[in-house]
Amino acid sequence: MIVTQFPFHCLVEKLVTSLTCYSAQASKMKIRRILMKLGSLAAGLVLAGAGRAGAQLLVNGAGATFPYPIYSKWFDEYSKVDPSVRFNYQSIGSGAGQKQILEGTVDFGASDGPMSDHNLAKAPGKILHVPTVAGADVVTYNLPGAPALRLDGPCIAGIFLGQITRWNDPRLTKLNPGAALPDADILVVHRADGSGTTYIFADYLSSVSPEWAGKVGRGTAVRWPAGLGAKGNEGVTGQIKQMPGAIGYVELVYAMQNHLPYASVKNAVGNFVTPSVASVTAALAAAAIPDDFRFSMVNPPGADAYPIAGATWLLVYQQQRNAEKGRKMVEFLKWAMKEGEDMAPQLDYAPLPPALNKRVLAEIGGIRY
């Protein structure tokens, strides 16, 4: 009896969840993701059949969920460029992506945050960070009449620290002289699941608020001083839509495709910038990027740069074990930096600016196999 009541349904449920969560969310983006997934699955099955005949090379990768739509598009397009190789990507989370590349169970990893020194030290060889595209977090809210909102770093930090608790707080009304902000409680909604989105947001708050940096810090999951947590962009959006007076952060891509209201944020130069693909690319161009490409691009000093932005990376070993796979991977990465980057804006991702693109190509050229 004891044994039979062990929650096996937890395990089963995880499976079911991963299958059903796609069908459950009605947003266009999700449907697009499903179609892509189905498409790549179907293509995979067909190619797998063909592969047996033509000895097709399979390159496996796993990691971040945020860039999944664009990676999936890249792999699909690239299969037309070079039919002899097939890329298989599982979007299982940045943490799992880092772990799998460290253990060598995949040929490449993907992560929304750079790997820590501690994790890199555990790797059997040198792992290169290849930045691919950038995205941003937007601050979205539920206010009567959806007035345009202007926020700055200290205000956002104050709200998420639980110190600014009313919409008509003088610190907010000062930034928004025209808007009619109600005399109501601010209800904070944040991500409950660990995510790259949270990393970017916490990274930004740490850079603009010493108090946040000291009390909370940066990470894919943090100890939130205020509010309630929801799962995924869709969960946060759902909670915000249901609670008048709520505020939270979601991915730019998600907010644009679902037509959510979002605030313009004061950047390091002092301009209020509306989040967009262009202002995120401007942020990438203004960010100081070291040679190992492990960079943070929040609050960079560009006039048009949107401050709450972050890049996403592919993780590959500099010394490839399998020469054939290594060669194919380098060919693909070079293609991604040229043709692939052009596809990014269509899917609402910010491509790398030309100068950075050149540096990344040089890094890719250094992969040995």
């Binding site: 929650p7 449920e13 995880k14 459950a24 990470g219 100890r223 939130w224 929801a230 759902g238």
Partner: protein, 321 residues
């Protein structure tokens, strides 16, 4: 002549081999053992996975209430609290509903109501929990927040459990969702239990002049307590491990709050939410340990439940005899 030849043949036949029986016994034994092996393996894996966290925090993991992945401080108490409160509350809401439904379906309902109702109940059980969770976010929680919760606070607001700000997403909302999820299982098992009561027992009670209620109470329910209790425990088992729908409505804040309107967190939700992006070893290990705690909580609850069932049902058996 015929008889003699048959008798002769019988004598010639070798006695049936016992090998088949032995093999069958061994095979079923192996299958039965698989369950134990599986649970032991799961326990062992969880123990292995949580080694770092066990070393660092020891048993204090169970009483620590901070959960800060950035600075590496982990404790399970808020999650245990949330799991316990939401499950037990869910069970308290679901149990009277389920037992009443089961009584109606077995004792009172006309045939044309019974079968559709049973089918609907089974359909309710097969709704994926993520669907219930979405319905929870968009329909149930806003309604609960604006009507029942507001009313509860108006009337009982002086009690700390109904105090504080009403967000909507809360421990109480999670309990309501859990109740909806476990009603089908408790109802259908209770129904089976009530159906197992022989009709002769009901007829005997009617013959003694008992009313419908007395028949139900004395002839049917009294002997079924143990079974209904078992059904409730199965429901509780499901409630403890329920993940997806609960995550979507509980608010996911690892705080221990007196108010049922405050957001909370459960063991299963924390694992589901945080595992995929846990890049740090200690963090992952602490999540493993939450899994271990959940396993232990489930086992301990079951053992306690069995002891309770024994205590509850023992005198009833005497009454029967």
């Amino acid at each position: 002549m015929m008889n003699a030849s048959i008798a002769k043949k019988n004598v010639v036949l070798a006695p049936p081999s016992k090998a088949g029986d032995a093999a069958f016994k061994l095979l079923t034994w192996c299958m039965a053992m698989m369950v134990f092996v599986l649970v032991a393996l799961i326990g062992w894996e969880l123990w292995q996975g949580s080694e770092l966290s066990l070393q660092k925090f020891g048993w204090r993991f169970l009483i620590r209430s901070d959960w800060d992945p950035v600075s590496g401080h982990f404790g399970a108490l808020p999650f245990m609290f949330g799991t316990f409160v939401s499950s037990v509350l869910g069970l308290l809401i679901a149990l009277p509903l389920s037992v009443a439904t089961a009584i109606y379906l077995t004792e009172l309902a006309p045939g044309w109501v019974r079968q559709p109702a049973i089918t609907l109940m089974e359909m309710l059980a097969s709704i994926p929990s993520v669907i219930l969770g979405l319905w929870g976010i968009f329909v149930l929680v806003p309604w609960l927040r604006d009507h029942p919760f507001a009313l509860l606070q108006k009337v009982f607001g002086f009690l700390p459990i109904f105090g504080g700000h009403i967000y909507g997403a809360s421990v109480l909302s999670a309990a309501v969702i859990i109740a909806i999820m476990i009603v089908p299982i408790i109802t259908s098992i209770s129904r089976e239990v009530l159906r197992a009561v022989p009709d002769s027992q009901r007829e005997a009670a009617f013959a003694l002049g008992a009313t419908r209620w007395e028949v139900t109470r004395l002839a049917v329910l009294r002997g079924s307590m143990r079974g209904i209790f078992g059904a409730a425990m199965l429901g509780l088992g499901r409630a403890l491990g329920e993940t997806m729908a609960v995550t979507m409505v509980i608010g996911n804040s690892p705080d221990i709050s007196a108010s049922l309107f405050a957001p909370g967190y459960t063991l299963a939700s924390a694992i589901a939410n945080e595992f995929s992006e846990a890049t740090d070893d200690l963090y992952r290990s602490a999540l493993f340990e939450l899994g271990l705690v959940l396993l232990l909580v489930t086992i301990v609850t079951n053992i306690l439940a069995h002891l309770l069932v024994g205590a509850v049902s023992a005198p009833k058996h005497d009454a029967h005899a």
